[in-house]
Symmetry: C2
Subunit: 337 residues, 2 copies
DNA sequence: CTGTTAGCGCTTTCAC
DNA sequence: GTGAAAGCGCTAACAG
């Protein structure tokens, strides 16, 4: 592997001159520049970033820590983040925390060790604060995506969870649904909380029947929707919900898959709605009625905020960007009388 | 950010001793080890990887270069690759080449510059050989995924393209289809070629009508299926294909979306099949009849091969892993008489 | 416009 | 068991 000295020798200049050529540094005589560039090409010289980073203290490496790339919502975030990072000359290390706090800790520690310039992350829950503290301690800029953290001031980009929930509930209400169940994740996650609050608020505002029984909370990584379905099956048709609101796409997919297995048909027996599309590609006959969030923009804008902060282009105060959600009515909901 | 010298000073030892403690190096007196560990904890010292890499020549950083994470096929590869990398203590930089050779070159150059230990990649086409040469030149191990490269010997993991195509064609044939169109990508991509060959072979073997007109080749990044659809619309119902084989999922999604816009209904007017699921989550009412490839395993096993090679656990000869495909019959195909 | 010197944070080599 | 010196590949700071 050729070093800067090899190039220097070949071009009959000092290493410093080569360095200047590489970094478009101060004025260099055209003839020497050409000689150096020729030598670079001939030796196929590629600068060693580790050596550069050792001096500059930056690595042009960013970290993207999400729950699971395989979830189309996060896939889009990842794509958006990578696009912006690439645009700005950064590269992206990605990690899947799987909603697991220990995994998150270990990823953050190795990211710090690697000297990443910043991190874009979806914290797995309020416990993540201890991990965020590592970043703060090492003065590593970070931006939160999709989930906020109680008591943590930071740049953040997320969707309008309350309004999104309301849109979903409105849609169900307009279609005649009155008893509406709720399948959700752990309340240590901010958006889960916000969606839950909006759900309860809607029920109160519209004086809908409420039974705690129809609210089901499960782990987002290991979903146990089957027990909820059993509850539905045990209840009489009059008692059980005619519609279910799921607080995320994977949950909804798991629920509906299991319902089908157990002989409950969507939307004929029960309507189902959720946040975020379970499908990356928009198909004319997609199944789920959803409130969609602009996930790509979450990643793209979040990355932009992060890089701005890294490069000192953000003010002292933290920025919060909230995106509107969009209701897309499809086949998983049905009007009832 | 604390350095090894800060720790050394605090523990009253030399930097060398601290280094030995960090790396579980040779014998150290228990008491000094404890003193050093205490200092490390107190200072919250995390070793600087750039400095380590400058000496050791390895980074524990791997690169994943794929076409587009947003394509569910590649999403699964990414997830599989990250899982294995994490298992083995490596981190993953990911990049989207978008089938663009220049982007690919630039990503490979920065990966090399970064000193990655190895690369798992889906080359954008046969031109990628020039990029592969960079890796070879710098002796960076790599494993090919999904696509081979003419004349390049390397570790590789991919699906059985011929057999997959045959499964799809068999299915169409059994459902009465005789005039079968083919929508595909550039022939510089190995699997596109292999699928095309298998398609032609099937037509020949079964003495099906063949008209060059119904084979349409387009760019995989900027698909132009509309012009093909116009061709279909101009033709009489007797002449045009009753089914279309798409060589990949994005192509199929784009085609069907456009067909719907133009008033051609799938499967009522025309059946459509393709390789790879356009949806990451398996839904009971998914649309496409596909031949699915175990994409997660592509990533997981590919990464395993890569790490084995990096760590010198592979033999001299290159390994090729070919996975079987699985036909999944869904709603995009229909029996005709 | 170009070169010299020193040093980033760590580990290898060789002493003791 | 432990340390001192040298150097990995690069660039900041200064000199010329």
């Amino acid at each position: 592997m050729a070093t800067i000295y090899d190039v220097a020798k070949r071009a009959n200049v000092s290493a410093m001159t080569v360095s200047r050529v590489i970094n478009n540094g101060s004025s260099i005589k055209e003839s020497t520049r050409l000689r150096v560039e020729k030598a670079i090409k001939e030796l196929d010289y590629i600068p060693n970033r580790s050596a550069q980073s050792l001096i500059s203290k930056d690595t042009k490496l960013l970290s993207l820590l999400i729950t699971d790339v395989a979830n189309p919502f996060f896939t889009s975030i990842a794509r958006g983040a990578e696009d912006k990072a690439h645009e700005k000359g950064y590269q992206l290390v990605f990690s899947n925390s799987d909603e697991n706090i220990e995994k998150e800790t270990s990823y953050i520690r190795s990211a710090v060790s690697r000297g990443i310039d910043g991190m874009l992350l979806t914290p797995s829950g309020d416990f993540s604060i201890q991990n965020i503290n590592i970043l703060t301690k090492y003065k590593i800029p970070f931006v939160l995506v999709d989930r906020s953290l109680k008591g943590i001031e930071s740049d953040i980009v997320h969707g309008d969870n309350s309004d999104g929930t309301k849109k979903l509930m409105d849609h169900l209400f307009e279609n005649g649904h009155r008893t509406i169940g709720f399948v959700t994740g752990p309340s240590s996650i901010s958006n889960v909380r916000e969606r839950g609050d909006a759900y309860k608020q809607f029920i109160k505002d519209n004086k809908l029947p409420f039974n705690e029984k129809w609210t089901f909370q499960t782990d987002l990584a290991r979903m146990q929707t089957l027990s909820y379905i059993n509850l539905l099956l045990e209840a009489s048709k009059e008692d059980r919900p005619t519609a279910i609101l799921c607080s995320n796409n994977f949950l909804a997919a798991d629920l509906v898959n299991n319902m089908n297995k157990m002989g409950l048909h969507v939307p004929d027996d029960i309507s189902v709605v959720c946040f975020d599309d379970p499908h990356a590609i928009q198909m004319p006959n997609s199944f789920f009625t959803v409130v969609n969030q602009p996930a790509y923009k979450f990643g793209y804008t979040g990355m932009e905020m992060l890089i701005d902060r890294i490069e000192g282009k953000s003010g002292k105060e933290h920025k919060e960007i909230v995106y509107d959600t969009e209701l897309i009515i499809r086949q998983s909901t049905k009007k009832i009388n």
